[in-house]
Assembly symmetry: C2
Homo-oligomer: 201 residues x 2
């Protein structure tokens, strides 16, 4: 099977619990996490350089201009993006890379790297999603309403993704196992293993 | 995730051990095995209606004419084919179906059922394949030579398949696990789950 590093792009509406799922995946040691940059404020407990690189709008726009962003998007008034160099280095070294990014950015990756694996994490339904967002208590009612509208738009993009994984309440470890299974299967995709022909000449 | 039955088409050159891998898969109880029809003679231990339906050339050609074959191929002087009705009934009942068929037939299935999952089982290399064929001792040197030439042609079709699974010596259970993982991941393929959109209206 191919031993090349694969790029896994994980998206999902706010409240799907994708952060927790990604945390479980990183605990397996099978993935390199690409830390995104953002201009939004840190939430309680979030650490610069671990959860995100928290930078200013001016710094972010300088990086765009310098071509140092693999993808970026504006989302509820803030920039989010992926610094290019770390991803390219990890893939070149044969590591599997996880990007946790918004749908706009994911579709940019699809264009640049068609061999990337795009995974959309969803809650079972819109009611569950809303309950989680409200329960989190970190956003104002206005921001929750914006995120719900955004979630409805994002779900219409299912067909642009390769896989959909449902993160049910309290089952984030199972969702992580689903993605681990996807990662292993993707290594066996025929188009990634054309090189096997040389063993049969 | 989708609860529709999926069609898994498993091919591989003679000597890849695909029969043993399929046997392990059937033991999981997660698959319905579609018994193929053939005009070749049974090998020692093969049972009519279990391994194949062993029928005459005349019977086979009557079924082709009546449109009762989902696919068929001629291979080393014999017909091999898949009776249509059993496959259609199992899929309609939500069962996962395994077809173990030659590459010609697999490519026919791809045309008729583009959503089918095509898996090519290979030995690690041509030397291993030849050693297994000779070791089996059931074919003449002439038939072995024909099968080796056929194997070389089949391997060039990797890019027509969705997945490649390597069956290493003594590791058929691992190859079966690989395919089970593929089956689970395929249930999460986005294009099979577009119906989830209705949960987010």
């Amino acid at each position: 099977m191919t031993d090349k590093g694969l790029l896994f792009v994980i998206s999902g509406p706010a409240g799907t619990g994708k952060g927790t799922v990604v945390k479980h995946l990183l605990e397996t040691g099978e993935f390199f996490f690409s830390v995104s940059a953002t201009t939004r404020s840190p939430r309680p407990g979030e650490v610069h350089g671990v959860n995100y690189y928290f930078i200013t709008k001016e710094e972010f726009e300088q990086k765009i201009a310098a071509g140092e962003m693999l993808e970026y998007a504006e989302y509820v008034g803030n920039y989010y993006g992926t610094p290019k160099s770390a991803v390219e280095e990890a893939l070149a070294a044969g590591k599997n890379v996880i990007l946790e990014i918004e749908t706009q950015g994911a579709l940019q990756i699809r264009e640049i790297m068609p061999e990337a694996v795009l995974i959309l994490i969803l809650a079972p339904d819109i009611e569950t999603l809303e309950a989680r967002l409200v329960g989190r208590g970190t956003e104002s009612a206005d921001v929750v309403a914006k995120r719900m509208a955004q979630a409805r738009r994002e779900v219409t993009l299912i067909n642009k993704y390769d896989y959909v994984v449902i993160n049910e309440d309290g089952k984030s470890e199972e969702a992580a196992k689903d993605i681990l299974g996807i990662a292993r299967s993707e290594k066996m995709r025929a188009f990634r293993n054309i090189g096997l022909k040389k063993n049969f000449i």
